[in-house]
């Protein structure tokens, strides 16, 4: 019997229909993925389930009884909790107080002793001893730990249904893995888990069944995950091939690229941006990938003059560009589409026309408005963006959908004919149709010779849209790679913060110190090596790639070892370099690449099989130590 069943759910927001007869069923003990492209309605549906939104129409059946939640509080009482990306924790309270927060509002005296006991029991039950002490202030916890506190908070309320809304977005691969273990544990103890995500690999790694939403309707209803392939899932999500969305066909060959427009060298703007270098050419779309908190937005903001740089140089068209204000950046031909449309983009009390003119007003030198100057540009752009003219211009911006608003904000900058466009999450909260037209537009802008830098948390989007990708991790650029060469998994491993990839790094350091030579963490695919990390100073044992590199196997100094991937040490026929490769597996059993050790010669090489076992054990120990 199903724990929860929703049927024929409708929800409208003004003129837009978010849910058009959607449904969803959840069994106890399963992880049920709720997927869909941006704007498909998955967030709306999960907010309906958690009582934050009331459907216009439709039925919700919990444990065989029809229910109607007037608010999130009622849903929580009924045992439904939601764990969101933007955590709902009180940062200045302790872990214990946060877990027990709902109880602080109840009448009567608080029994702190019992609550402490209860919290410790929950932590043990979750297997989440990992560095969480109940007395710690939530402010001092890492993002992954905060999510665990949210889960604990849900468990303290005896929630049987927990909804995870894009929980892995801000997490590193290791943190994600730990979270997935916890989710699997919860399923094993009879909880019903709803997992909202658009990351395909996670859906396949974690979920038992999948419900796909498309434009507010159910495109696939509770299909067992093992019956699906990635390609099928994508088609269900978008209703067509993914490549169509990204307008790949129009992608330019990198040879026809123009001169460099922006060159950033060793840029540092503490605390987030530590050492970032990259170059963007005219006509090129450069993706800036990485996890939340890796310093991507801050890099854009520093270039644009919104935050001061501590050191490093920015060159525009080959000339040093040391500006102090956004206005100077704008006058130099730079535009910034900020991350949060509501707080940084839209001016709610202005008409669409004045919103379009905002950057013009900033760039304009006179005391008047001179809106007339841009009339022709406005007409041209509205036509290009497929926006209706006339009535639209005098209407309030907020009455339009997120996608429409984003187009207006984009047009705000295009009116100025910029040479460099910095876009921070340009498709966040934008429906799939508008997304695809924004991609096409960016391609077109690039084809006109504008250099674009696009920040996106969606690795799929970065790969689909960008010509080249720079991955940032902990404020440092770790690789600079053509988009055609890389996939989502590799990007994820490049993007892993140094702090959380530390477990592998520690193992590498130990290897290099004990045996001399060079130790590395790599992925191998399509005849290429992707090097995520490398440790060691013995240049005689250089494998021919370094951290962030991605050479073809034939171009490295250890092609034999990389091609054979044998169990023991492999000696290169020419150079005599001896290499041992050990596969790394996550706790979920999925592929995390290989750890390797290259020595200058086969002489004195330890026993390969024994060392391989030792390395595997080391990785486990490090994982355990990290957990403690």
């Amino acid at each position: 019997m199903s724990l929860l069943a929703l049927a024929d759910i409708w929800k409208r927001f003004g003129a837009t229909v978010a849910l058009a007869g959607a449904g969803f069923t959840l069994k106890a003990g399963e992880v049920h993925a709720l997927v869909g492209a941006n704007g498909a309605g998955k967030s709306t549906l999960s907010r309906v389930i958690s009582g934050q939104l009331q459907p216009d129409q439709g039925s919700i059946v919990l444990d065989g009884r029809a229910v109607r939640f007037a608010g999130a509080r009622e849903a929580i009482r009924a045992g439904i909790a939601m764990v969101t990306q933007e955590t709902s924790l009180a940062p200045d309270l302790s872990v214990l107080e946060n877990i027990m927060l709902p109880r602080l509002g109840m009448p009567g005296r608080l029994d702190w002793g019992a609550m402490r006991h209860e919290a410790r029991r929950l932590i043990t039950q979750l297997g989440a001893e990992a560095g969480i002490a109940i007395g710690m202030r939530v402010r001092d916890l890492a993002v992954g730990q905060r999510q665990i506190v949210e889960i604990l908070k849900a468990l303290a309320l005896d929630s049987r249904i927990i909804i995870f809304d894009e929980p892995s977005a801000p997490l590193s691969p290791h943190e994600t893995e730990r979270l997935f273990d916890i989710i699997r544990n919860l399923a094993a103890t009879g909880h019903g888990l709803v997992f909202v995500s658009h990351r395909l690999e996670e859906i396949f790694a974690l979920s038992d069944r999948v419900t796909v939403l498309r434009e507010g309707r159910v495109a696939a209803d509770g299909v067992p995950t093992r019956d699906l392939t990635q390609g099928e899932l994508i088609r269900l999500m978008v209703g067509r091939e993914l490549s169509d969305i990204y307008a790949r066909a129009e992608k330019r060959a990198s040879t026809s690229m123009g001169p460099p427009v922006l060159r950033v060298s060793h840029l540092s703007a503490p605390p987030r941006v530590r050492d970032v270098s990259f170059t963007v050419h005219a006509g090129e779309i450069l993706g800036l990938a990485g996890l939340v908190g890796a310093g991507r937005s801050e890099t854009l903001e520093t270039i644009f003059g919104l935050r001061p740089a501590r050191s490093g140089t920015i060159e525009l068209d080959g000339k040093p560009f040391a500006h102090v204000s956004p206005r100077q950046a704008i006058r130099a031909g730079i535009g910034l589409i900020p991350e949060d449309r509501r707080t940084q983009g839209a001016v709610p009390d202005f008409s669409v026309r004045e919103n379009l003119m905002l950057a013009h007003l900033g760039a304009h030198r006179g005391a008047g408005l001179a809106y007339r100057l841009r009339d022709a540009a406005v007409r041209r752009l509205l036509a290009l963006l497929g926006l209706p003219e006339q009535r639209l211009l005098d209407a309030n911006l907020l009455t339009f959908s997120g996608g429409m608003q984003q187009k207006v904000i984009l047009a705000r900058w295009l009116i100025l004919s910029p040479r460099l466009l910095l876009l921070d999450e340009p498709t966040r909260g934008v429906d799939i149709a508008t997304r695809s037209s924004i991609y096409a537009l960016l391609r077109r802008i690039a084809a006109d010779g504008v250099a674009c830098v696009v920040v996106s948390s969606d690795f799929e989007e970065v790969i689909g849209l960008a010509d080249r990708i720079v991955v940032l991790s902990d404020g440092v650029d770790v690789t600079n790679i053509p988009a055609a060469l890389v996939d989502i998994e590799k990007l994820g491993m490049f993007a892993a913060p140094r702090s959380s990839a530390e477990r592998t790094h520690t193992v590498l350091e130990g290897l290099a110190a004990r045996h001399g030579g060079m130790a590395f963490w790599i992925g191998i695919e399509g005849g290429r090596v992707f090097c995520f990390d490398r440790v060691g100073t013995a240049s005689a044992a250089d494998p021919g790639f370094s951290g962030g590199g991605f050479p073809e196997i034939a171009a490295t100094r250890i092609p034999e070892a990389l091609a054979r991937r044998a169990a023991g040490f492999v000696t290169e026929p020419g150079s005599g370099l001896a290499t041992l490769l050990v596969p790394v597996r996550g706790r979920g059993g999925h592929d995390l690449g290989m750890v390797g050790l290259t020595l200058a010669g086969p002489e004195g090489a330890p026993d390969g099989a024994a060392l391989a076992r030792a390395i595997a054990a080391d990785l486990e120990t490090e994982a355990a130590r990290e957990a403690a």
Binding site: A15, A346, V347, D349, L358, A367, P388, R391, A395
Partner: protein
């Protein structure tokens, strides 16, 4: 309200005339204010036959000048999402400056000194609020206390008399039967309206109040114009000081007391949002008139002055309630 979401390219959507009028009333605050003034005047003229006489209307004009000048500056500050509690004290202290300066330096220089001191103290407000990132409420509350204290210190806590005729003429003279000071008020509001509607600075004030971060990213000079709003508020307090002196022919350290709350009330009755970004200078002028009318009407009706606060207070709350009801249909609650 659902209707206004509809987008039809080409000709404006046709509505039945009453619906069209309602729509205009809902969207045009100036129109709403005009209607309110007409209603207030109609009611008052029915209650008291004296209300619509020339003498009384001149009286009303006279009473609206000082409050109007202060409320103009307050409007700019509230548009950027700030508030200025010091305007009354700045009127007091700049009046004292005027009184100390005219015996030695003559009226024109003394007026300049008066205006400069108001603007300078406004500048202090603006700089501390903008660069010190302190809540406007706190900074101007402090300045309110400092200004009043300075007024007492500088004047030795006594009144200054013997105001020259050239100063008195400001409020005594009239052009075509309209008092000169009232004309000054109208000119000041006309300039402010033009500035807020057609100048980059004016639009910047609205943008700052509506979404400061978006305005910053668009390259607008948000610091400059945030400070300018407080400078103008200080300047207008000093302008009010000049007219106050001219009118009562005496300078008192207590001068301008209560103006801060009256000016905020006028701006709020005029439809501005205390969160910034929304409001109109015409609305403020109407708000000033409505407050003066109500006071005047209550006086004509021989209602105890103690009741006036209740009347004004009720109107402020009612005005904000009406605005809340109207704006909730427009997306921003």
């Amino acid at each position: 309200m659902r209707e206004s979401v509809e987008v039809r390219p080409g000709a404006p959507a046709r509505r039945a005339l009453p619906a069209h009028l309602l729509h205009l009333l809902a969207t045009q605050i100036e129109l709403r204010m005009l209607l309110l003034i007409v209603v207030v005047m109609a009611v008052l003229s029915r209650i008291s036959p004296y209300f619509l006489t020339a003498n009384n209307l001149l009286n009303v004009m006279d009473q609206s000048v000082i409050a109007g000048m202060v409320a103009l500056g307050q409007t700019l500050v509230i548009l950027i999402g700030g508030i200025d509690l010091s305007v009354g004290s700045l009127t007091g202290v700049s009046a004292i400056m005027l009184g100390l300066a005219f015996p030695k330096l003559g009226v024109p220089v003394a007026v300049l000194i008066c205006l400069a001191s108001g603007a300078a103290l406004g500048l202090v407000n603006g700089v501390i609020i903008t660069y010190g990132r302190i809540a406007p409420f706190v900074v101007t509350l402090g300045m309110m206390s400092i200004g009043r204290s300075m007024a007492y210190v500088l004047s030795g806590a006594s009144s200054i008399g013997n105001i020259p005729d050239s100063l008195a003429a400001l409020t005594a003279d009239s052009v075509f039967g309209i008092p000169l000071d009232f004309l000054c008020l109208i000119v000041a509001y006309a300039i402010a309206w033009f500035f807020l509607t057609f100048a980059k600075g004016g639009r910047t004030l609205y943008a700052i109040g509506s979404n400061r971060e978006a305005a910053r990213i668009a390259g607008l000079s948000i610091n400059l114009w945030s400070i300018a709003a407080y400078v103008i508020a200080g300047l207008m307090s000093a302008v009010a000081a000049v007219f106050l002196t001219s009118k009562i022919l005496s300078i008192d350290p207590i001068g301008g007391a209560g103006e801060e709350l009256d000016s905020i009330a006028a701006v709020v009755i005029g439809g501005a949002s205390l969160f910034g970004g929304r409001g109109s200078i015409i609305g403020t002028l109407a708000g000033v008139f409505i407050m003066v009318f109500i006071r005047n009407g209550l006086n004509l009706l021989n209602v105890s002055p103690y009741w006036q606060g209740t009347a004004i207070g009720s109107i402020i709350i009612a005005a904000v309630l009406v605005e809340r009801l109207l704006s909730s249909g427009r997306g921003r609650a």
